[in-house]
């Protein structure tokens, strides 16, 4: 950055920045205020503008205001990232933050122009500088938005995984686990972890795993499945696999999966009957 521009920027901000602060609150009021999305009250918007101004003043007063790696610039980026996060958490949209940032840029330039009396049309270097800075800040807003979206998607995926493997104690000491959809390795490990913990917690003597809803299975997953059965048995419980579809049965055989010692039944109902038989429970129709 040339020395002339650096001095120009410092000189601009050495003017009475107190005069600019109320003007910079306007973009906040327009995009987050009570008249629009109502995401912030007036006091909060005033604080926001004051904080932005102070961070901008620190950047412009720094040794090299054009250095994107400087702590001053990083602080400004963090300010916009945290603003973006706050607005999203309050139900706002990323567009609002981007439009706010753009309007803030125009307002700041206009205010500085007015305050300094320098027409920026004659000083393109200043305009060019602010455009570069604000472009980076908009990028920070987007980065923060994407990170937040990723966090939300991960949380939703985790929730979905949990609800897609409902382990139910259908009878005292009998757990059922209907598995629906595609079993991949990470899901199988999750099932294993949840199931073994429930066996220990509920003191389950029999576990019925229903695969009626499983459409695909590969070699790794079938090994994991057998590992689940073995782990359940090692804990001292019995495992019964039910509802193996013909395609899955064929796949298991072609994958050379050893089903010795694994009890299988055609349907969940047959599996439950087997579980009750092992527990010595008799379920019969009420005598008429």
């Amino acid at each position: 950055m040339n020395r002339k521009l650096s001095e120009k920027l410092s000189a601009l901000f050495s003017l009475k920045i107190g005069n600019i602060s109320p003007l910079l609150a306007e973009p906040g009021k327009i995009h987050f205020g009570s008249d629009s999305s109502n995401l912030m009250d007036d006091d909060e918007i005033a604080d926001l503008s004051a904080e932005f101004l102070s961070l901008m003043a620190e950047l412009l007063g720094s040794k090299n205001p054009d250095d994107r790696q400087s702590p001053e610039f990083h602080a400004l980026e963090m300010f916009f990232a945290s603003l973006s996060h706050k607005i999203l958490m309050r139900g706002g949209r990323v567009e609002e933050v981007v439009r706010y940032t753009q309007l803030l840029q125009y307002t700041l330039i206009e205010a500085l122009e007015k305050d300094s009396g320098i027409p920026f049309t004659e000083s393109r270097s200043v305009l060019h500088y602010f455009t570069g800075v604000f472009n980076e800040l908009i990028m920070a807003v987007f980065r923060s938005y994407l990170e937040e979206r990723e966090r939300v998607l991960e949380a939703q995926a985790a929730e979905l995984r949990e609800t897609s493997t409902p382990i139910t104690e259908i009878w005292d000491g009998v757990l059922t686990l209907p598995i629906i959809g595609t079993l991949d390795s990470s899901r199988t490990m999750l099932v294993m972890e949840a199931l073994l913990s429930r066996v220990a917690k509920d003191h389950a003597e029999v576990v019925v795993m229903d695969l009626t809803g499983v459409q695909n299975i590969d070699s790794q997953v079938s090994h994991h499945l057998i590992q689940i059965v073995r782990a359940v048995q090692l804990m001292g419980s019995s495992a019964i696999i039910t509802g193996i579809q013909p395609e899955i049965a064929r796949a298991l055989i072609s994958l050379n999966i050893d089903l010795t010692g694994v009890t299988t039944r055609a349907s969940l109902s047959d599996g439950l009957k087997e579980a009750f038989r092992r527990l010595g429970i008799q379920v019969s129709h009420k005598a008429s």
Binding site: I228, A231, Q233, L234, G261
Partner: protein
């Protein structure tokens, strides 16, 4: 007193074996002889091995359990491992291929289920 192990009579012919942190399974030959000796002397027919405090079973520990259970079978004592932790069961199921030489049960009260064909 067997070093690293607590052997307690819990019935007419049943014993509970609880390993402590100081158990040194490198010395398994001597330990197994001591356990077998005491059980024979007490005319025991069942040994419960409590795995409650064991978060992980690795091949070395499995070899110890395997050797002990085979010795117990040789002297006509049924060995049943109880309270195997989920993490230990998961680890063990990862490296053994067939059924282990010992039986397993959730608890002493569930022993009628141990070893039932599955």
């Amino acid at each position: 007193m067997i070093p690293g192990l607590h052997l307690t009579r819990i019935g007419r012919d049943a014993f509970l074996l609880e390993p402590s942190r100081s158990l040194n399974i490198r010395d398994k030959t001597r330990l197994i002889e001591r356990i077998a000796g005491e059980l024979q002397q007490a005319k025991a027919s069942c040994l419960y091995y409590d795995l409650a405090g064991l978060a992980l079973i690795d091949p070395v520990y499995y070899a110890w359990l395997d050797a002990l259970s085979r010795t117990m079978a040789a002297i006509n004592v049924r060995m049943i491992c109880i309270h195997m932790q989920p993490t230990a069961a998961f680890a063990l199921s990862g490296f053994i291929t067939g059924k282990p030489a010992f039986e397993t049960a959730l608890d002493i009260s569930d022993v009628h289920f141990a070893g039932s064909p599955v």
